[in-house]
Amino acid sequence: MTIALGDKYFEGTYKRIFAAGDIELVNSKIGSIYAAGDVDIKRSEVKKVRAAGDVNGEEVTLGSAKVVGDIELKGVCTAKDFVAFGDVSAEYLECKCLRFGFPKAKTNNAPSLSGFYKAETFELVMPLTLSCEYEFQNIIATGEMRAKAEIVCTNFYGLAKIFAPAVNAEEVFILTSDGTEIGEVAGTKVTVSKRFEPDRAFRKLPKTLAVRDADSRGAIIKIGSIEGDKVSVENVCADSISGIDVEIGDLCVVEEVAYKNSIRISEKAVVGRIVRL
């Protein structure tokens, strides 16, 4: 165990570093770092990072990282679980789980993600405008998500306010959170519901936070068009919905519904035109 007070420079192998002050690590292999102050890491491998302060990295391999402060990563960086609370800029960051924000933590500024990120699961806990380049398999948004371009992934779970021109995923679940507005939603299975109960598939997704049942208090959300093989919606106002099997639930207002195999419309829904494909 190494304790560093004030500014320190490290190079080599260390099991554990406790630092109060700025530290710099070059060509090192470290078990864990607990730092209050800025951390600069270059060409190093760190299994565990807990830092309160800015982190600058260059070609680093991290295990589990939790950082409160601005992060700047250069070159190819990898991590197992990466949790950030602050502005993050990365040239290339690849990790299993990338989480942005801490539950219940609040900030007056709107932190941003910039650069390129690749992750199996991206968990969004705090409000974010998604404007970076990314390759996410799963997106779980429990914080407000805004996007300027189409959101693309395999599994999308929007459990808070979503504001995007389009969402495209194999499986899409959108909780009817007040203020949600999406231009287009396309997927194999599209579900829009006022209640979220984690199913088996969701529970199996790699993630750093447990997500429990959620309720939207019955808001009606706006979606331009929904397209999917299996579409099940409630509390939605949409121009058009089309799918193979379509279920229009309570409090839906839809201009046109197109279906191929089956359709179910609640008596508490308003549908303008029904077309069989």
């Binding site: 502005d87 800029s89 007056n108 500024n109 709107a110 941003s112 993600l113 910039s114 409000p127 405008t129 404007s131 970076c132 805004r146 300027k148 371009a149 306010k161 504001f163 995007a164 021109p165 389009a166 203020g179 507005e181 999406i182 231009g183 287009e184 019955g218 808001a219 009606i220 959300i221 706006k222 979606i223 331009g224 068009s225 106002c237 949409a238 121009d239 409090l251 207002v253 201009e255 008596e267 508490k268 308003v270 303008g272």
Partner: protein
């Protein structure tokens, strides 16, 4: 047809009855239809009520909609998240309603607090004696308001919105009144009055805004009502399939549907800005209709000049500023007077005294620095 009579404590599951008489403490658990429904004592309904005549001579707390031909109230009717639809309503007591009361004839004397009242002939007379019955004065006022789900006033009846053919009211506070003919007396208060016929208002009343509706305005509204989707929503409401709250939400959602292919400034603002309403001064830039963010390359090329003292400054581009009480962070260069905290800049820093650390991508020129200096270029400290 069955007859149901509860004396003491009991509950009704639901169903169809010829008559229901509830005396004492009773509860309705499901939807019920009855020719006559009489309540004496305390009654709580968790199911919809459909009756020809509904008579309340005690306290009725309704959590589901009520539909009746005639409603006679000589006690208290509390409608929480529920509406009342009736041909005629005669009340000598207290009514509170968080949703809508829809009736042809409303003859009321007592104390009321109603969110929305729609009808043909509406008469409201405030009676102080009814207010005394439920002690709405003093420290229990908040508790009473919380119990009824709406604020109750000991001095006046409260009706948020009224839409009717003829309105006669005394001692009532309105937010909006839309009526053909209006007769107001005894300290009535109206925020906005829309009237297209006769209006008789005595000198004790206060009407903040009167809008005389012309025939043209009425014609303008017609196409809105004729919208087929809107008509269908109203039909669902009339059939009792959805309640007033749900109908309002559905109509509200119809207003503007998002289209695919990018967010507009209007929608960006309508959907809420990506920061809290914290009173901080923000100078923002747009590229077309898009709000520029910190990560955008265009942000770095913007220079902000601020005249005056500042607390903390965070600029995406370059900054020119006077004294800063706290920290300064800029993507580009910084030119300012004295800084009370740290200064961090992507470019060069030119300042007076800095009471903190300095981190610059370029050169640093300043009078005095109390903290440490990190600079990508040259450093010059001193006067």
């Amino acid at each position: 047809m069955r007859k149901e009579r509860i004396e003491g404590i009991g509950s009704i599951v639901g169903g169809e009855y010829e008559s229901i008489e509830a005396e004492g403490l009773a509860k309705l658990k499901g939807d019920v239809k009855a020719e006559t429904f009489t309540i004496e004592g305390f009654f709580k309904s968790k199911g919809r009520i459909e009756a020809k005549t509904l008579k309340i001579e005690g306290v009725h707390r309704a959590f589901r909609d009520i539909k009746a031909e005639e409603v006679i109230i000589d006690g208290i009717l509390k409608l929480k998240r529920a509406s009342l639809m009736a041909d005629r309503i005669k009340c000598d007591g207290v009514i509170t309603c968080t949703e809508e009361i829809n009736t042809d004839k409303f003859d009321f004397e007592g104390v009321c607090s109603i969110a929305s009242l729609v009808g043909d002939q509406i008469k409201i007379r405030y009676a102080r004696s009814s207010g005394d019955k439920i002690s709405i004065d003093g420290k229990f006022a908040r508790l009473i308001s919380s119990y009824f789900g709406r604020k109750l006033d000991a001095e006046k009846c409260i009706v948020d919105s009224v839409e009717c053919t003829s309105l006669t009211a005394s001692g009532t506070k309105f937010k909006t009144v839309r009526a053909h003919s209006v007769q107001l007396s005894d300290y009535c208060e109206v925020d906005v009055l829309y009237v297209d016929g006769e209006a008789e208002i005595d000198s004790t009343c206060v009407v903040r805004k009167i809008i005389k509706e012309s025939a043209q305005v009425i014609v303008k509204e017609e196409p809105k009502v004729a919208s087929p989707t809107l008509t269908k929503i109203m039909d669902l409401y009339k059939e009792g399939k959805i309640n007033a709250d749900e109908a309002e939400k559905m109509i509200e959602a119809l207003k503007e549907l998002p289209k695919g292919g990018g967010g507009s400034l209007g929608r960006m603002v309508a959907g809420g800005l990506p920061w809290a309403d914290d009173g901080k001064l923000r100078v923002v830039a747009f590229l077309g209709h898009e709000l520029l963010e910190k990560s955008a390359p265009e942000s770095k090329t913007i220079e902000v000049t601020y005249n005056g003292e500042a607390v903390d400054v965070d600029v995406y581009g370059s900054l020119s500023c006077g004294d800063v009480e706290g920290n300064v962070s800029a993507g580009g260069s910084v030119k300012c007077s004295n800084v009370g905290g740290d200064v961090k800049a992507g470019g060069s820093i030119t300042c007076g005294n800095i009471d903190g650390n300095v981190n610059a991508g370029g050169s640093v020129t300043c009078s005095e620095v109390t903290g440490e200096i990190r600079a990508g270029g040259g450093v010059r400290v001193g006067k």
